[in-house]
Symmetry: C2
């Protein structure tokens, strides 16, 4: 294992991690890092917060926790790694185990031989072939220079109107950053919803919140043309024909793995366009490993390949690569459950595993539960969480969990990620021993309650109906006895106003005569979060009604209009 | 299953949960709840926050999330439960399946027969036989009336000095509540540390923080006498002879299960003094279940019985009881991993599984790692976390995790609780896919990094030494080459001042001549958090030194005095 020549292509996340870990495992290894960009070890995920002015010192994006900039000198001195920036790799000769590269400043060409090579070439923003995309003012957010440029535009105060193309994670983060600096922001998304890792009805709650911040959101719409004058952007024309004037458009519609080097070297490329690696993160060439946004990895739930360009996974993959290069293939990277989280103004949105639509697309027969409840006791300044749990209908195994709201989403999604990775069932989570104290959670943690609801559904005790289905059926004029079991005060303050009857839960046992005589009539109950709705269902069923359902998540999870007190 | 008479003794946490769930499972059941106190469904864990003035409306402690007070009328109307407050159960006749009770206001005696009985009699504060404990001014915090009294004393402004007897969870919460209302607070604890669920060196970081808030802390000391005049408390005399004047003493040295009724009825009582129940939460009498602070449950790691009086577990146990009473014994309560969390002024402290000392006491051969690092990237206003992971030395299975600091302890301990329950190893956590974005966590989550450190220790790559051991050996005059590898600027600002040599990591490879010639000399490295300390260890070992160790957690986890820049 000693004195290997290790060459690493790429110096953002995976590359530097692989380099530093390799040296820690084997100080005698000669590690060379070839980086095309001028910077090393950039905190790419931090760009939106730099752009938005959360901090002003750009160097914080490339510095250690104690403030030392991670430049070539740092890598040489502190890590024992020979890092070369502004260095673009042109080709890999696998026969000769040699990498050819050029300095992008001096144009000097060189080569270096390797015993082991690591490809960490990352991903490139998806660039749609839309007329006008080359106009000045159409901007991506990929390199640090892009972040610099957007920050400069923000500081200049010159941009009044910006269109964000793509309502995914990065689009939403940039939307927030630019809106908070005073620009008029419009988000244009091709799909029917923002944040596609969420199911529609949870994404709609996020969309409501985004709109409440003055953002215009167009879903199911795309850019037909970027319009310009004198090579400068002046607006965008949408696919529906409408025109939005703007001086800046930020295109963030996802990324594609950067695999041209690997492909040209003859390495195997997978169905998602990423480099194929095995469980040891080794490519089809035994001397070459790969990690980060350029590879395909395994989905831990299905065992199938997937593309998961997350910064945290890049680091973990790179660590496995270093282990295997130095110690022989002994360390396995098991893949992803697609855990992610995102700040959206005063709310957060997170997800792990599959959404309902993705689970169904994978062929699972699923059952879901929606839970709207507080994150801690009301007297502790609690905030709302709306979650949806997706489980295998037969086994109760948790396949996914989404959570949005102003409350503490972070802990909820982290717990769920652990559950999904461990293959836990709703029954196991229903008796989980999680840390509790009033400043931190409810006595029965929101995640556990969600499992309880799903357990009740699986057992047939609670018959839920999604708010989307209720709305569709109401819109279609279905005959439903809609039963609001909240208090008159709550009803006064806010209501669905969809022809509902108000019978507070506390009076339901003595108000059965107000319900439809026909015991087979469909009755749909609800309350604020639908705990009382469920209790009402149980009482009605005990009294002979046979077709009672509960709107899951109640009014708090209702993604459509509600009527407020005038 | 229909029309059972269900009688439940106790109306705090477990009782009301069992009652409500029973009705939801079987509306035909006649459920009677007998509650000694005047209140029902009290959020006991919220008392310290009420006392401290986090909120002013006492009713919030006994209200639903929508503000309805859960009194007898509420239970009757909304839950279909016949709840009787001020009702003390005097005896249980198991032969006749009858419970005898008395109204504490009217002294009227009654009885009720049951098909199934649930005992949720909770726990009582431990009351040491110390002279003067009956003086006015010596207060417990158990009942809602105690909370009322302490809140009243706080509001009155009449108490200047208070002594908290016991530095456990409740003691510390009350300490914060009263200190923030302007009282001079002294905490007296018999053990060498506060918060005994932590290992000493982490508890010491909490103690430092508590002291920084102006609290006086006496450890390894107890109350010898409560001193008084005219039956009123005037001070306490400690076991070391010192006297602390005070007008109020709050005794919170733990609780004992309240089992006199169960014992008199001949039910089996366990070694910890709690009611013995099986996995279905059934007592030694098939018609009687029990839940909450009065029972012993299983430790999920060891499989042995333990006593775990936590509010969240009481609720989960009660839910299992209801299931089993209505549906037959089919729902299992697996027990506890002792997850807990606590706010301590601007810090939090949490734990799950075993501390190092408790794991050793259980007979485990353990290996531990301490990790001091930020909770998210520095540019996002990150805060410090100091954690300690305890694993089985042979298998790497995580047996426990503790975390303290101003950072986001909540998510960390929740993740760890999930890991401990699932029997995860450090290797599994080392490749976990947890949600990441800069506002929420580091790219490699703190919990994962802690697993990485422990993995490195198990593999023999990192040789750690605890700060406690270093301090002991320094105090004993051991010859150690203490090597600080931070930058000169950091050294200038804060240092151990224990005879250390400063060689910044970036110069270590060119400064080997400054190290002891004898390659077997003991060298102990450290930095701010000990990442660089570890890197230095790797470099020194690669250069032939054979006895290099790293102070775990670095200066940030150092629980002793450090020297700051003048």
């Amino acid at each position: 294992m000693s004195s290997q020549n290790i060459v690493i292509i790429g110096g953002s996340a995976a590359g530097p991690k692989a380099a530093a870990r390799t040296k820690r495992l084997d100080e005698t290894a000669r590690v060379t890092l070839l980086q095309k960009a001028p910077e090393l070890s950039m905190a790419t995920c931090g760009y939106p917060y730099y752009i938005g002015g959360d901090f002003d010192d750009r160097n914080q994006l490339i510095a250690t926790p104690t403030g030392v900039v991670r430049n070539e000198a740092f890598f040489a001195a502190a890590k024992g790694v020979d890092a070369k920036v502004n260095t673009e790799v042109k080709s890999i000769d696998r026969e000769k185990k040699t990498v050819f590269y050029v300095n992008t400043q001096t144009h000097e060409e060189s080569s270096i031989s390797y015993d082991k090579l690591v490809i960490c070439t990352g991903a490139t923003p998806r660039r749609p072939p839309i007329p006008g995309i080359d106009l000045e003012g159409v901007q991506e957010l990929s390199e640090m220079g892009d972040a610099d440029k957007l920050r400069e535009l923000r500081d200049s105060g010159k941009v009044k109107n910006v269109v964000i193309v793509g309502g995914g994670l990065i689009g939403i983060e940039v939307c927030e950053a630019l809106a908070e600096s005073g620009m008029n922001v419009t988000v244009v998304e091709m799909l029917p919803q923002l944040l596609s890792f969420l199911d529609w009805e949870l994404a709609k709650l996020i969309e409501k919140h985004v709109k409440s911040k003055g953002i215009t959101v167009h879903t199911e719409n795309g850019i037909a043309h970027f319009l310009g004058e004198n090579d400068r952007l002046t607006g965008v024309k949408l696919q529906d024909g409408s025109i939005i004037p703007c001086e800046l458009a930020v295109v963030s519609i996802g990324v594609v793995p950067n695999v041209s080097l690997a492909r040209e070297a003859g390495l195997e490329i997978g169905d998602f366009g990423g480099i194929t690696v095995n469980e040891y993160m080794r490519t089809s060439d035994p001397a070459i490993y790969a990690a980060g946004d350029c590879v395909e990895i395994q989905n831990r739930i299905t065992g199938k390949k997937t593309y998961a360009p997350y910064g945290d996974l890049a680091n973990l993959e790179a660590r496995v690569v270093a282990d295997n290069m130095v110690l022989g293939d002994n360390s396995i990277f098991p893949g992803t459950v697609n855990s992610g989280i995102c700040k959206v103004f005063d709310m957060s949105a997170g997800s792990t595993g599959f959404s309902e639509k993705n689970a169904k697309a994978e062929g699972y027969e699923v059952i879901t539960a929606t839970n709207a409840s507080l994150d801690k006791p009301g007297f502790m300044g609690a905030k709302l969480l709306v979650s949806k749990m997706v489980a295998d209908a037969k086994t109760g195994r948790i396949l996914g969990f989404q959570c949005v709201g102003p409350g503490e989403v972070n802990r909820q999604v982290a717990e769920a990620a652990m559950a999904v990775m461990n293959g836990n069932t709703v029954y196991e989570i229903g008796v989980a021993d999680l840390p509790y104290a009033p400043p931190f959670s409810l006595a029965i943690d929101h995640f556990i309650t969600t499992a309880h609801i799903l357990e009740n559904k699986i057992a047939g005790r609670m018959t839920g109906i999604s708010n989307v289905e209720v709305k569709e059926r109401l819109d279609a004029g279905a005959e439903i006895f809609l039963l609001d079991v909240r208090s008159p005060v709550e009803f006064e303050e806010m209501r669905l106003n969809a022809g509902e009857t108000l019978i507070p839960l506390g009076t339901i046992r003595t108000s059965l005569d107000k319900l439809p005589n026909n015991k087979d009539s469909e009755i749909i109950t609800f309350c604020k979060i639908s705990m009382r709705g469920y209790e009402a269902q149980r009482v009605l069923e005990a009294n002979g009604w046979t077709n009672v359902k509960v709107i899951e998540g109640g009014i708090m999870a209702w993604p459509f209009k509600v009527e407020f007190k005038a």
